[in-house]
């Protein structure tokens, strides 16, 4: 009986005009999206390689350790083809030097805002928006449409158990939506192989889990469509209702959750943080200058009773210590400021994290958010890439600076930060550091190691969302089941 019903369901779907429409739209969208994502990825790889080569080149051409600095780049990942996440919005590089903070800059969308206007449509978007709509289109009249068509009566004039009927509806609609999805997905996977995208085992695992999550996601909408169809007598009513539910779940709740969290737990803006940092720095430098002045006065006071020659001698004896002392003080100030900055950043990050947690918690009342969050976690394109990359870059910066300082000490010797200013009528002014001529040898310069996004590491934070999606789906299905058992077939 179940087989007969499922067969009929599939046949009815395949023969209906909405099937051919869905199939062609899905096929075109998915193949196109994978193709464009793939080309974007390849372009990003090419850009990344050129940029890192150039940056290394620049480093090799440096003539002094003092002025040695570099840039660290975010590495493109094949998963961005399917889940763009925030990767187009987060900056691609940060400069690595002693004077500036680590900050990811130059995002794709800030470099080429035209692409931000018509954002890249990735597989996640297609599933989240388009497929969920199709799922509704497939199921909004699954039950009440048959009632209106009179076929429900004729069906239940036979010895058909209701449980089997609703199961067949569910399975039939599911298969009717999955089958048109599989073909373009397979073509997409073939494209990956064809274009030799460097997919590791981890990448394949992520990709297939992502596809699993996508199926789970639209399964929810199939269950929801059946539920509403089994709760209403007319298909026009269920269609309206489902459309409202779709807009609420897919468009409103995710945004409202984040917005509400912003209201509940406000986070200071970047400008506010900058202001605070500058205020502190100014205050601290002022303190330092005051202390310095005081120290000089003290030192001078000690010289008061001496003759000019004695003074000169005393100065010669002590100037080195004084300078050292002042330098220590200056360093202390700098340390204080960066310590304060670190604290500010940490505080900001904590508050942001709290806000994000709350925002995501609220938005997770929608399966669309759960799906998106799960997909981004899996792909490693969730918002944590920014802090994670910045942390990695900060570590790298520390390594890089200590490497540079050590080299400076080894090769330059003497006083730290010593440099010479030359005036030359031909070349103009020339500032040179420890070495006068020739490039420095940077073969053993530390290399930036990008954070690794392993499958397991992405799966773990995605688990709660998988759980939620399963829960939502089961709830919708169970409710639809119960509703249909009481459905009036007339």
């Amino acid at each position: 009986m179940l087989k007969i019903l499922i067969e009929k369901e599939l046949k009815a779907i395949i023969l209906s005009p909405k099937f051919s429409a869905t199939f062609s739209v899905c096929a075109i969208l998915i193949v196109l999206s994978v193709f464009i994502g793939l080309r974007d990825y390849q372009a990003a790889v090419a850009q990344y390689e050129t940029a890192t080569t150039l940056s290394n080149q620049e480093m090799r051409e440096q003539t002094s350790w003092m002025s040695l600095n570099t840039r660290a780049y975010r590495e493109p990942d094949p998963m961005q083809i399917f889940v763009a996440g925030v990767q187009n919005d987060v900056g691609r590089l940060s400069s690595i030097n002693a004077f500036s903070q680590i900050k990811l800059e130059n995002s794709n969308y800030s470099d080429e805002p035209i692409f931000a206007v018509f954002r890249f449509i990735d597989l996640t978007f297609i599933v989240q928006i388009v497929l969920s709509l199709f799922a509704i289109l497939f199921t909004y009249d699954a039950i009440n449409g048959e009632r209106e068509g009179g076929t429900l009566q004729l069906t239940f004039a036979n010895a058909v158990p209701r449980v089997q009927y609703i199961l067949a509806k569910f399975i039939g609609s599911w298969l009717g939506l999955v089958l048109p999805l599989l073909i373009p997905l397979l073509i997409g996977l073939l494209l990956l192989l064809l274009f030799r995208v460097p997919m590791t085992g981890d990448h394949w695992a992520k990709l297939f889990t992502l596809i699993g999550a996508s199926f789970l996601y639209f399964t929810f909408f199939i269950a929801l469509g059946l539920l509403v169809s089994a709760l209403t007598k007319r298909s026009t009513t269920s269609f309206m209702f489902l459309l409202v539910a779709w807009v609420t779940l897919v468009l409103i709740v995710p945004r409202a959750g984040v917005m509400l969290a912003g209201q509940i737990t406000p986070v200071p803006t970047v400008a506010e943080i900058d202001g605070q940092r500058e205020g502190y720095a100014k205050e601290r430098w002022k303190q330092h200058m005051d202390a310095l002045t005081e120290r000089w006065e003290e030192r001078n006071a000690g010289l008061q009773n001496l003759t000019a020659e004695e003074r000169e001698a005393f100065r010669d004896d002590h100037s080195w210590d004084w300078m050292k002392e002042d330098e220590e003080e200056r360093k202390l100030v700098q340390r204080d400021i960066s310590e304060y900055d670190r604290k500010l950043n940490e505080d900001l990050r904590n508050r942001k994290a709290t806000q994000e947690r709350l925002g995501f918690l609220l938005s997770r009342f929608s399966p669309a958010s759960s799906y998106q969050l799960a997909a981004m976690h899996l792909a490693g394109t969730d918002i944590s890439i920014k802090p994670e990359y910045e942390d990695a870059m900060r570590d790298y910066r520390d390594k890089f600076i200590s490497y540079r300082e050590q080299k400076q000490k080894e090769e330059g010797g003497g006083m730290a930060g010593g440099f010479r200013i030359e005036f030359n009528s031909d070349t103009g002014m020339k500032i040179s550091g420890d070495r006068d001529s020739g490039a420095i040898d940077v073969t053993d310069v530390p290399v930036f190691e990008a954070p690794q996004y392993r499958f397991a590491a992405g799966l773990l934070p995605a688990m709660p969302d998988f759980g939620l999606l399963t829960l939502y789906t089961l709830l919708a299905f169970a409710a639809g089941f119960v509703a249909f058992l009481r459905y009036d077939v007339r």
């Binding site: 009179g150 009566q153 004729l154 004039a157």
Partner: protein, 264 residues
């Protein structure tokens, strides 16, 4: 006219009192009060034996469809029960439904399926998995659907063509009982006539047939037993042999009018 005489008439013309054993279809004090309080069926009792046609005759709102829906367990009785081959429909609906075929007032099938595909689905749903395409064609020809329509989608079918498919589906199920709700309403006279002949041949095969109609002449034509229904009651029931055509018409008008008088 008073209530008592109505009841008298019923008893006068009634078939033997309901016996649970022999009747294929039996309504036993069948009563239905809808959620909104309408008493659509009021202690209706009758039975239909194998090889018999029972016609429920009555105007709109008399309770004919309600009766049939109770046999199909589309709704639950407020009181009493409907039995099919002794099986109480609201207690064992699945077992009961194995024994009945149903043709509705307006047969609706899957518009994107061809006639043959529709037949195949509903035949298998009715538990008949052994048919071949030729069997379906044969039945379609028997009910009068021309060859060239067999492979056409139901979309373009007229009501008459759909009714024919509906009766074909009922025939294919080969159930001992057939329920028809105003099956000839909306059919042209020729199609209506053919339909009646078809029902007669089914009766001769031994089916128990319960049909509702508001067409007094058609009822007189084929029914073995006629039950005149009004306001949820069988106000008169008679064997075909008991009354001549004119009488039935008179009786119908009389009971209808009398009943209306009494109500008003």
């Amino acid at each position: 006219m008073e209530t008592t005489s109505t009841n008298e008439a019923v008893t006068n013309h009634a078939v033997n009192s309901p016996s649970q054993s022999r009747a294929m279809l039996a309504a036993d004090n069948l009563t239905k009060r809808y959620e909104d309080g309408v008493l659509a069926l009021d202690h209706v009792t009758f039975e239909v034996n194998q090889g018999h046609i029972y016609a429920m005759l009555g105007g709109n709102g008399a309770g004919k469809t309600t009766t049939i829906n109770l046999f199909l367990n589309f709704i639950e009785p407020t009181e009493g029960e409907a039995r099919i081959n002794g099986i109480v429909t609201h207690k064992e609906p699945l077992r009961a439904k194995e024994k009945i075929a149903f043709v509705s007032e307006n047969v609706m099938l899957y518009p994107n399926f061809t006639a043959l595909q529709n037949l195949d689905f509903f035949a298998r749903l009715g538990g008949q998995t052994g048919y071949s395409k030729d069997d379906y064609r044969e039945v379609l020809l028997r009910v009068g659907l021309q060859e060239e329509a067999h492979n056409k989608r139901l979309k373009g079918f007229s009501k008459g063509m759909r009714q024919k498919c509906g009766i074909a589906i009922a025939i294919l199920k080969d159930a001992p009982a057939i329920l028809l709700d105003e099956p000839t309403s909306g059919l042209d006279p020729k199609a209506g006539f053919e339909f009646i002949r078809l029902l007669e041949s089914l009766r001769d095969e031994g089916k128990a047939i319960l049909m509702s109609t508001h067409d007094i002449f058609r009822a007189r034509d084929i029914a073995d037993t006629i039950g005149i229904m009004n306001q949820g009651r069988i106000v008169m029931q008679s064997q075909k042999s008991d009354i001549a055509g004119e009488d039935l018409e008179k009786l119908y008008m009389k009971y209808m009018a009398g009943y209306m008088e009494q109500v008003n």
